[in-house]
Symmetry: C2
Subunit: 876 residues, 2 copies
C-alpha cells in the first residue's frame, strides 16, 4: 500500500517533492530538535491522485492513514481530537513543492465544536479566547471549505459589534462571541442546507479536500503560469497541532528574516504582535513591533529565538524567513524557508556567508538567481513613487530597465525629437529593421504586438534598452499619432514611463533610481569566472555595444549582424540601389559604395575587441525588409530612382514573400548574388588588415555563413570567401588567420552536421530560428496561440526564452555529436536568445559547447549561469 | 597506378559508371562476339580528375595509357596511326553514364594528316573519299576542339561549290576537295595562330581534352538540370577505329530500333542510306530508305543484321536502338542502347517480352518508367497540330494533361462562364483556397507565380486537372482582365490551350487526343499489385475524386482535407461567422450550421470507399485564409455582419500573420478552439454511424490531427475526440472501430516520435511541410532561389518533388524507428506530394512504411513504383 501520510518525525528536507516545501522543512526542523508544534503531512502524490484517478474522492486507504496519524498526534500531544476536556486542535495548510505564498488555502483551529470549545475554555481558563477561536474557525471553514462568501460573516460580526457599541473585535466579550458563534452556525445551515459539522473527523477530511482543490483554483493556476511552475506538482497538506499566540501577554506571534532581505545586512529583520494570532498581523488592526524589541519584552524567549535563527541559518546555509508563535512564554517555530530578497541583498548575503565560513564559494554562487542580476544592471523606478503612479497598461517585460519620455509614433519623428534633446519613447504596433534608428534614439520602446522574441524585444535587449512588447491592452493608432488604453488617450509628445522588468506602462514622467554595482557583484563574478568553462561572448553590432559588453566581461563577439548597419540614413539609398539592381554590374556598383562604410564599422569593432574573437555574420534578412512600405516613401524612392511609382511598387510587391522566415534570405542571398558575399568579405578582411597594420593587434575575424541547410551551400560560399580574402591579403600584404563557419539554425543542418563540419571551422547554433523551424512556430505569430498553450498545460515555458531541450535540444545534441565526429577541433557556440538564459546555458554546458553569446546586458547573467552549470553538473 | 583506359575487350555492360553507357555497351557487344569496330575507352574517373585535381591537364600516366592502348589497337587492326600507307583512323566520342544525346562532342576521321590522307586514298583506291574525309575531319576538329565558328568552314565549302558551279557536296571532285582542304588549313592557321596539327597523337590528346571539356558546356549543364542528372558523373571518351559507309554501293549506314518505338509493335523500325556516313543521314540531303528495304538491296547483310538484332534484344532484354555501318558488304555495329519509346510502346513491349519468354514479370515491371504512366492517363494535344501551334509562353508542367478554353481571370467569372456551358481556362497570378470553385469549373489553370508545389499545382493534380504554374513569361493583369506575353495580349474570353505535361501555353483552341488505356496497362498493373507490399491510397476530398482514385486502384484515402469543403458558396458565410465569433457560444452556433454539411460530405466519401480506410484530417489552414481579401468583398461581408467596413478590415488585419506557414494553424486551431474539433469529430462519427446503419458497410474512419509537434497537443485533442466519439456512439447506438493518429510534419514531431507514438495509433508523414520546415524553404517563395540553386549545383532536384533523403529522409527514418519502438503495431503512411514520386516511394518502402497516398491520377504511378521498390531492393 502506498504511504500517503508522514508524521513530521518521519520526513526530512530532502523529501520536498513528496511533502512540499513547508512539510519537508517542518520535518527537518523536528529532526534537528527545534521547537515545532507536531503534526503530519499528506503527500503531493495524494493530491495528484485526488485530482486524477480518485476522481475527487478520498479513498479509504488514505482516510485510514490520516486517522492513524491523528492517533499518533494525540499520543504526542496528550490531547484528544474533539475531546470536551482537553481537545486537540489543528491547523490544516497547503504546502506546495515550490512556494506559492497566499495562493492556496488554510484552516486554523480545526477540531472545535460545541463541546470541545468548552474543553478549550477549561484548558486555557479563558472562555473568551475559546469562543473567539471557535467563531474564527467557523468563519474560515465556511469561507475556505464551503465557499460561503466572507462578507456574510463580516456583516454578522459588524452587526454584533454595532449592537454592543464597540469598535474592535477585541472589545467583544465571551458572551458576545457566543452570540456570534450562534449566528455563524445559522448562516452556515442556511447557506449549506446542513448543520455546521460537529464531528472533527469530518471537519478534517473536508478541510484536506478543500486544500487539494485549492491547487487548481484560478489564482493558483495564474500564479503558476506567471512563475513558470509546472501544473502537475500538486500540493501537500500539513496538519499541525495548534499553538496560540493570543493567550495573554506572554504570548505572541511574528515573522522574521535572519538577515535584512532588502540590503542583505546581517541583522535580524522582522516584526511581532503580542497576544495575537497570525491573522491579526495580516489584518493590520494593530501595528506590529520591530522584532528586536522582543529582547526587552521577553528576553528569554528572544535569546532562544536568536539561537534558533543561528541554528537554522547554519543548517540551511541560507537566509531564512521564519514564522513563530510564543504560547505563554514557550517559543514555537511554525515555518522556515529560504527568504526572498532583492538582488543586491542576495549578492551581499552570499559573499558575507562565504566570509563567515558558512558557505563555500561554489555554494555561494549557487545561491544567486542569475536572472536577478538584470535588476542590478538597469535603472529602476523608485518603488515609493510607483505606489502612486497611474498604471496605463501591462505588456510583456521584454527588456529590463526603466524609461521615461515623450511618446512618438514613428522612428523618424522619434529620432528627430531625440536629436533636439528630448527624451523619447518610441511607440509602434510592432517594429521592423527600418525602425532601428528610432529605437536607438529612444529611451524605451513600447509595442502593442509581438512576443518576448519579437524584433522590438530582441533588438532592445541587444541595445540594453528598456522595452515593453506585445502590450495588447493598448491600441496604437500610428496614423492618428495617438495610443488608446481604456478611456485614456495619449498623444504625441505626452509623457509615459515604461518598466521593462515588469511590463508595466505608466502615465506621466516618473523618477528613476540608477543602479549601483556593489563590491559583492565584482567578487561573485570573479568567483564565477574561476569556476566556469563555457566562454561568454556577446552579440554586438557596433563599437558602443561591444564596449558595454566588454565592461560586463564579454570575451569576444559571438554574433555581429551586418544588416543593422545597412539601415543608417546615409547607407540605405545605396542598399536600395543594390537591391533594385537589374544586372550584376549595377549591383556591384552599389556594393562598392557600401564597402568603405562596412569596412569602417568593422574597424571600429575590431579596435574595441582587440585580440578577442569577433564572429561576423554575412547579410541575413530578406532584401525586401530594406525597401520602403508606405506609399509616400515609395514615391520618394521612385523619384530618386527616376522610375514611376507604379513600377517601383510592382517591384516591391514582386519581392514580397508569403513566409519570409523560410524565404530568400541568409546564405541564399549570397548564393544568388555572390557579389554581396564578396563585398562583405572584402570589408572584413580589409578592416582586419588595416587594424593590424595600424595597431599591431591580433585581430581574429570569424566569418559566419547564415542559414546553411546543406554542405553544398557552404562549399559554394567558402570558395568565394577564401578567394576574396586571398586577394585582399595579397593586395594589402597583411597575412593573418581567420575562420569560416556557419550558423546551425535550419533543422537539416543539424541533421547533416557531419557533412557540414567537413567544410566549417565553427558552428554557432542559431537557436531562435532553429526553434522556429523545428517547432514550426513563427515567433512573430506564435503569441496568438502560445498563451492558450500555457493555460492548457501544453507547454510549460516559452520555447523562445528557454530552449526546448526535449525537441530542439535533441537537434543541438545531434549536431554537436556529428560535428565533433567529423572535425574533432570544431569550435562550437550558440548565439541565439537562449545564450542568455540560465537553464539553457546549463544545457549548452552539458552538450559540450565552447561558448555562449548573448546581448551585452546578459553577459553577467551568462557568466554566473555558466559557473552554476559546472557546479550543478559535477556535484561540486 | 590507376587504370584510366580500357580496351573494348576488357570491359562489360556492368562497368557503365566507369566506361559510360556507350563504352560499356561497346565492350559488352565485343564480349558477346558482335562485329564492333575495336577501340578503347578513357574512363569517367579520368574526366572528373581532369576537371578537378589535374587542373585541366592530362597527366603523363594517362597519356602513357592512351598510347599503350593505341599500340594494341594497331595490333588488332593491322593499321598504324598516322601511317602514310595504311593509316589507322579513329573516332573520338563522348559517352556519359546517362545518355545525353547530342549534348557533347564527337570527332571523326582522326589520324588524317597531309601524309596519311594519301595512305587512305591508296588503301581505299578512292582519292576523292580520302580528301573528303580529310576536309570533314579538319572542319569537325576545328569546330569541336578549337571552337572555330562553323560557318567559316561552310563559307569556304560554299565558295568552292559556287566556283565549280555545283549544287551538292557530292558533286565536288578529289581535286576540288584538295582545294577545300588547303583553304581549311589556312583558316585554321589564321584563327589559331598555328598550323593544323599534323601529329595524330597531338590530334588525339586535343580531341580527348575537348570531350572532357564538353561535359561542362552550357547546353550539357542545362540538359542535366532539366533531366535531373547529377553534375558529378563525368563523361567517358571512346576512341574507336573508323569504318566507312561511304565506300560505294555495298557500303551504307543507318539507325534501327528492334521494335516500333511509337507503338511497341514487334517489327524492326529504322532507316539507312547507301554509300553515306552518319552525318549525311543527319544532314538530310538525301532521303533515307526504310530499314526493311535492306533485305532486297543487301540480303546477306540484312540476314546478319536481323540475327544481330535478335542477339542484342536477348542479351540486353530490352528493345534496342542501334547505329550500324556496312563497309564494303561487312556489317559493323557502332552503338547499341535501350531505345527510347512512348509510354504506350513501353507497356506493350514489356508485356510482349514476357509472353515471348524474354523477360520475367518482375523484369518487365522494371522496364517501365513510372512517371510515363501520366502520359497514358491524361488527354494530350495532337502532336501534328502542335507543330504549327502558336506558342505563347512556357511555364512549369505542374499537372499533366491538355486543356483548351476561354480565358477568365477570376474564380467567380470562370465558374459563371462554365455554368453557362463554356470551356474555361482560369488564369491567375496565383491561386488561393478561395479560388477552389473556379478551379473546379475550369478545364485548366494557368498561374504566373508559384512552383511545382504551389497551391494551384497541388490542387490541380488532386483534381487530375491540367495546370501550368509559375509561368513568369506572362504578366497577368487581373484587374485589367488581360494577360500579356511579349507583344501578345490575351483578353477575357479569348481561347488559349495549356499542355500540363510540357508547361507550354498556346494561343487559340487546339484539338485533343483522348487517352486509351491499353490491355497491357491492366496486365502490368495487375503484376505490380502482386509484387508490391506498400499499399497505395489516395488524397481525395470529395466522392468524385475518391471514385476516380478507386478506378485507378486506390486502396483507401490517406488524406481527406476538410478545409476544401469549407469554401463552397453556401458554407463560407457560416465558416466566416465561426471565425469572427467573439465568444465560444457564438462559435458553437456557427459550427452547428456546418455540422450537417460536413456530415453529408463524409457520408458521400464513406459510401464510395466502402470498407476501405478513410483518413480524415481535422481543419488545417490558418483561419484568415477563409476571410475575404478584396475591399469589395470585405464591404459585403461587413454589411452582412452588421459591422462597419473599418472594424471588419481591422479584424482581418489583426488575424494576418507574418509567416502563416508557421502560425496559428493545424492542431493549434483545435487547441485554441476545441469546439472545432468537437464539431468535426461529431460529423465524422455521425456520418460513419449513419452509413453503417444504412448500408451495413464496415466504415473505417481514421481521424488525423495535423501539425502536432509535441505529444501534449495530441493528448489534449485525443481526449476531446474520444469523448465526442463516445457521446455520438451512445446517442446513435452504433459502435465501431476508428483510429486516432497524427501527421508527422513538424521536425520536432519526428524527433520526439517515441513520445507521440504512445498516443497515436498511426503516423502519416506530411512530407510537404516537413520539407518546408526541415530545410527552411517556403514552397511558395523558394522559386526565387531554387533555380539558382540548381544552376549552381547546390541541389540536384526540387526537394518538394523528390524527397531529400539525406536530410528530410533522415527525420522520417528517425520517426519510423522511434515510433515503432514505442508502439510496434503503429500504422505508418505518407500523404505528402512525395507519395506519388517513384524515387521517394522507393525510400518509403525501404524505411518500412505501410502505405503511400497520392492524388488520384498518380495512383497507377505509385502502384508501379511500389512494385519496383520491392524488386529493386530485394534483387528479385
Amino acid at each position: 500500500m502506498n504511504k500517503y501520510v508522514y508524521m513530521f518525525d518521519e520526513g526530512n528536507a530532502g523529501m520536498k517533492s513528496l511533502l512540499g516545501g513547508k512539510g519537508a522543512n517542518l520535518a527537518e526542523m523536528t529532526k534537528i530538535g527545534l521547537p515545532v508544534p507536531q503534526g503530519f503531512t499528506v503527500t503531493t502524490e495524494a493530491c495528484n491522485s485526488y485530482s486524477g484517478e480518485w476522481n475527487k474522492e478520498l479513498p479509504d486507504s488514505l482516510v485510514d492513514q490520516i486517522f492513524e496519524s491523528m492517533d499518533r498526534l494525540e499520543n504526542i500531544t496528550g490531547k484528544k481530537f474533539g475531546d470536551p476536556q482537553n481537545p486537540l486542535l489543528v491547523s490544516v495548510r497547503s504546502g506546495a513543492v515550490i512556494s506559492m505564498p497566499g495562493m492556496m488555502d488554510t484552516v486554523l483551529n480545526l477540531g472545535l465544536n460545541d463541546r470541545s470549545v468548552l474543553g478549550l475554555a477549561g484548558a486555557t481558563s479563558n472562555e473568551r479566547f475559546a469562543f473567539d477561536s471557535y467563531r474564527r474557525f467557523i468563519q474560515m471553514f465556511g469561507d475556505v471549505v464551503t465557499h460561503i462568501e466572507r462578507y456574510k460573516f463580516e456583516n454578522i460580526l459588524e452587526g454584533v459589534k454595532e449592537k454592543r457599541g464597540v469598535e474592535y473585535d477585541t472589545d467583544l466579550t465571551a458572551e458576545d462571541l457566543k452570540i456570534v458563534v450562534g449566528k455563524y452556525k445559522d448562516l452556515f445551515s442556511k447557506e449549506m442546507n446542513r448543520d455546521f459539522p460537529q464531528d472533527p473527523r469530518e471537519q478534517l477530511l473536508m478541510a484536506i479536500e478543500a486544500v487539494f482543490n485549492s491547487w487548481n483554483n484560478p489564482r493558483a493556476i495564474a500564479y503558476r503560469n506567471i512563475n513558470e511552475i509546472p501544473h502537475n506538482l500538486g500540493t501537500a497538506v500539513n496538519v499541525q497541532s495548534m499553538v496560540y499566540g493570543n493567550m495573554g501577554d506572554t504570548s505572541g506571534t511574528g515573522v522574521a528574516f535572519t538577515r535584512n532581505p532588502a540590503t542583505g545586512e546581517k541583522k535580524v529583520f522582522g516584526e511581532f504582535l503580542l497576544n495575537a494570532q497570525g491573522e491579526d498581523v495580516v489584518a493590520g488592526v494593530r501595528t506590529p513591533k520591530d522584532i528586536n524589541q522582543l529582547q526587552d519584552i521577553l528576553p528569554e524567549v528572544y535569546e532562544q529565538f536568536t539561537a534558533v535563527l543561528n541554528t537554522l541559518e547554519k543548517h540551511y546555509k541560507d537566509m531564512q524567513d521564519i514564522e513563530f508563535t510564543v504560547e505563554r512564554g514557550k517559543l514555537y517555530i511554525l515555518q522556515t524557508r529560504n527568504g526572498k530578497r532583492t538582488a543586491a541583498a542576495s549578492l551581499k548575503i552570499a559573499v558575507d556567508m562565504v566570509e563567515e565560513g558558512l558557505l563555500s564559494r561554489e555554494e555561494a554562487l549557487m545561491k544567486i538567481e542569475p536572472q536577478h542580476l538584470d535588476q542590478l544592471l538597469h535603472p529602476n523606478f523608485d518603488p515609493e513613487v510607483l505606489k502612486n503612479a497611474r498604471l496605463l497598461a501591462k505588456g510583456l517585460p521584454a527588456s529590463p530597465g526603466a524609461a521615461t519620455g515623450k511618446v512618438y509614433f514613428t522612428a523618424e519623428s522619434a529620432a528627430c525629437a531625440a536629436a533636439q534633446g528630448e527624451k523619447v519613447i518610441l511607440v509602434r504596433q510592432e517594429t521592423s529593421p527600418e525602425d532601428i534608428e528610432g529605437m536607438n534614439a529612444a529611451e524605451g520602446i513600447l509595442t502593442s504586438r509581438g512576443g518576448m522574441t519579437s524584433h522590438a524585444a530582441v533588438v532592445a535587449r541587444g541595445m540594453g534598452k528598456c522595452c515593453v512588447a506585445g502590450c495588447g491592452e493598448i491600441r496604437v493608432e500610428e496614423a492618428g499619432k495617438r495610443l488608446v488604453a481604456g478611456d485614456t488617450v495619449v498623444k504625441e509628445g505626452d509623457f509615459i514611463s515604461l518598466d521593462g522588468s515588469t511590463g508595466k506602462v505608466y502615465l506621466g514622467s516618473l523618477p528613476r533610481v540608477e543602479p549601483e554595482l556593489s563590491g559583492s557583484f565584482a567578487v561573485l563574478m570573479e568567483w564565477a569566472d574561476r569556476v566556469r568553462s563555457l566562454k561568454v561572448r556577446t552579440n554586438a553590432d557596433n563599437p558602443r555595444d561591444a564596449a558595454t559588453a566588454l565592461k560586463f566581461g564579454a570575451e569576444g563577439i559571438g554574433l555581429c549582424r551586418t544588416e543593422h548597419m545597412f539601415f543608417e540614413e546615409e547607407r540605405i539609398p545605396a542598399v536600395r540601389e543594390m537591391i533594385l539592381s537589374k544586372t550584376t554590374e549595377q549591383r556591384e556598383k552599389a556594393l562598392a559604395k557600401l564597402l568603405p562604410m562596412q569596412k569602417e564599422d568593422f574597424k571600429g569593432i575590431f579596435k574595441v575587441m582587440e585580440d578577442r574573437p569577433v564572429t561576423i555574420r554575412l547579410l541575413d534578412p530578406p532584401l525586401h525588409e530594406f525597401l520602403p512600405k508606405e506609399d509616400d516613401d515609395i514615391k520618394e524612392l521612385a523619384l530618386n530612382m527616376g522610375i514611376s511609382f507604379d513600377e517601383l511598387r510592382g517591384i516591391i510587391e514582386e519581392m514580397s514573400e508569403f513566409n519570409p522566415m523560410l524565404g530568400h534570405r541568409g546564405c541564399r542571398l549570397a548564393i544568388t548574388f555572390p557579389e554581396i558575399a564578396r563585398m562583405q568579405t572584402r570589408a572584413i578582411i580589409e578592416a582586419a588588415a588595416e587594424v593590424i597594420r595600424e595597431t599591431g593587434l591580433q585581430v581574429k575575424p570569424e566569418i559566419m555563413v547564415p542559414l546553411v541547410g546543406s554542405v553544398t551551400e557552404l562549399e559554394y560560399l567558402k570558395d568565394i570567401i577564401t578567394e576574396t580574402a586571398g586577394q585582399v591579403m595579397a593586395e594589402t600584404g597583411v597575412e593573418f588567420e581567420y575562420l569560416i563557419g556557419t550558423m546551425i539554425e535550419v533543422p537539416r543542418a543539424a541533421i547533416t552536421a557531419d557533412e557540414i563540419a567537413r567544410e566549417a571551422q565553427f558552428f554557432s547554433f542559431g537557436t531562435n530560428d532553429l526553434t522556429q523551424m523545428a517547432m514550426g512556430f513563427s515567433r512573430d505569430d506564435a503569441g496568438k496561440f502560445l498563451s492558450a498553450y500555457r493555460d492548457k498545460g501544453i507547454i510549460d515555458t516559452d520555447p523562445f526564452q528557454r530552449l526546448d531541450q526535449a525537441g530542439v535540444g535533441k537537434l543541438v545534441e545531434m549536431a554537436v555529436k556529428l560535428g565533433k565526429a567529423a572535425r574533432p577541433d570544431i569550435k562550437l557556440g550558440i548565439c541565439g536568445e537562449h545564450g542568455g538564459d540560465p537553464s539553457s546555458i546549463d544545457f549548452f554546458y552539458r552538450v559540450g559547447l565552447a561558448y555562449v553569446s548573448c546581448s551585452p546586458f546578459r553577459v553577467p547573467v551568462a557568466r554566473l549561469a555558466a559557473a552554476q552549470a559546472v557546479i550543478r553538473n559535477n556535484n561540486i
